[in-house]
Symmetry: C2
Subunit: 341 residues, 2 copies
């Protein structure tokens, strides 16, 4: 336990890659994808013993206020920040930092956590955060790097340069490499997956935002005192990710290696890696399949690399090669058949 | 209309190849597979103007008595023959012929019709039956042959030898050929699919049964007066198909070519040929797929030659190559999970 550590959980995602199980009104982070609670609840549960509810902030969309309060009944109402619209991670993180600063906690640490990833074991996660706290204490922007076990092309990579005091120094960032580059990263051993987890002092990130995103810094001035941002103020903030907006430009970026296994559970095929499956499944001459059919029996015959989902009145059967196209399909349905999305 | 023509519809099948949409208590012939009524109702509807309900006999299993009466409310109750157990086509046909003979109709004609095939148009079907009646009048056992349009290996074939008066003479039968043979049949032009439709005089088929299946002939003696065969009597009848038991041995077998398109709708992939699909389907990068998801939306992405069925709490996704194995799967489930079959 560190009494000066606050967790900021980003729960504003509107992902469509788990349609039809996830919908507009119930995106991925609010789903029980891996069993034993929703991904958001899993994220909070992992903080047990490290960060009590009083020191957890959740940032989400206005539409999800009820969902979050019902999933996290112990969350103090003043710790729920409601965005009027999605505005990318720089705004979300900057706003949370401003709120903490306004509460007189500028010298404290904040851990920024995605709400929809698969992480285990929780002890390893907490140890890693404590490692990161030590780098943050020394004024670094600290990231968490995951040692790759395959040449994934869908993730961002961190390159570890020199070594600091209990951490590594990040010498470059690389978003979604092609597969040749990913193979080289895997072989080279100096590249880590960017888990999207950050730890820093509140005043450090606010300083860096002031330096690299002055427009955001200005826009945040009147937001520190509210937990319900007005549409007028929030819509004017620049929409940019924290990686592009701050991390790639900052000079003192550290990385601690993850003492846990991690997966961003980005789409239906990814769910397979976490061993998740819903409903009873009978696989005959079939392999590498994802099944999501709660309460039902699913029989697969002669299939490989296929996801089968039965949810909300829709049956989806999708070859893995099409997982990235699901977003376009859902976007098309949002226009033509909004009741299905 | 021929006042001396009776139709015997065989509706005793317990097919499992349309599981999970067809179940033990509702096999294929009782399903609305092609739209516009069940296959059994379609079979009766095709006889309109040729055979009124009073001259239609339906042979089915005891368990299906209610189903048949509810699907064919106009069927006279004395025209429903109830088998205590399935006993193959020779017994079923022999029994129906005995019932007709017992009612003093030995000199009339009977058309034997499967209850679960796709046939269109109905006019062509009726014309074909009338063609067959003329061969039957002359004392022939008349079959209906369908000109093949592909080298199907799952059907029985009839070889047309000489020509009779308005019909062809069948010189040989061939059950399910290998694909090389089927190709040769298709190229040669003398082979026709055996549609399993027969027309003959009642006394002709009873004579032939007496000659080739004397044991069956004996067993039928006490069955002509009943429409509910006793288990004791029926279980003793030989279980053999009419093709093997009589047709292949008989000397005067005729064939008339079908003036209709025909499909035995033998499995889920076959349904595609009849253009049938249930529920709304969205195919993306997909082709040659069967969808059966009544009332729901089905989205297929990146799939070929696959059948997707959502019925009775089960989702089945099956590559065409596995269609023949479905029977084994269902048999296994009958033992382990009878509630699903």
């Amino acid at each position: 336990m560190r009494r000066d550590l606050h967790a900021v959980i980003m729960a504003g995602g509107r992902g469509t890659r788990f349609w039809p199980a996830s919908t507009r009104s119930r995106p991925k982070q609010f789903m029980d994808l891996l069993g034993a609670g929703t991904l958001l609840q899993n994220t909070v549960a992992r903080l047990e013993g490290l960060c009590p509810m009083e020191r957890i902030l959740v940032v989400t969309g206005r539409d999800f206020e009820r969902e979050v309060m019902s999933q996290l009944p112990g969350l103090p109402v003043e710790n729920l920040l409601l965005e009027p619209m999605p505005m990318n991670t720089s705004a979300c993180i900057g706003w949370a930092a401003s709120v903490l600063a306004d509460r007189g906690l500028s010298g404290d640490l904040m851990a920024v956590l995605p709400s929809d990833h698969a992480v285990s074991p929780p002890e390893g996660f907490r140890e890693t955060l404590l490692d990161a706290c030590r780098a943050a204490d020394a004024g670094w922007l600290c990231t968490v790097g995951v040692k790759p076990d395959r040449p994934a092309t869908g993730y961002g990579y961190l390159e570890a340069g020199g070594t600091g005091d209990g951490f590594m120094v990040v010498s470059s960032f690389r978003e979604k490499p092609d597969s040749e580059t990913a193979e080289a990263f895997l072989a080279g051993g100096r590249h880590y997956w960017n888990a999207g987890i950050f730890v820093w002092r509140v005043e450090t990130i606010l300083d860096e935002i002031r330096r690299h995103l002055p427009e955001l810094s200005d826009g945040l001035k009147n937001l520190g005192r509210t937990t319900k941002a007005s549409t007028g103020l929030y819509a004017r903030l620049p929409s940019i990710s924290i990686d592009y907006g701050v991390m790639e430009k900052a000079s003192r970026v550290a990385m601690v290696p993850a003492r846990f296994s991690w997966d961003d559970v980005g789409d239906w095929p990814a769910l397979r890696r976490s061993g998740a499956c819903r409903g009873e499944a009978l696989l005959i001459g079939s392999s590498d399949c994802t099944v999501w059919n709660p309460g039902g029996l699913t029989v697969l015959m002669g299939l490989e690399r296929v996801s089968v989902v039965n949810s909300n009145g829709v049956v989806l059967v999708m070859s893995d090669d099409y997982a990235q196209k699901l977003r376009d399909v859902v976007t098309g349905l949002e226009r033509d058949r909004p009741e299905l999305v």
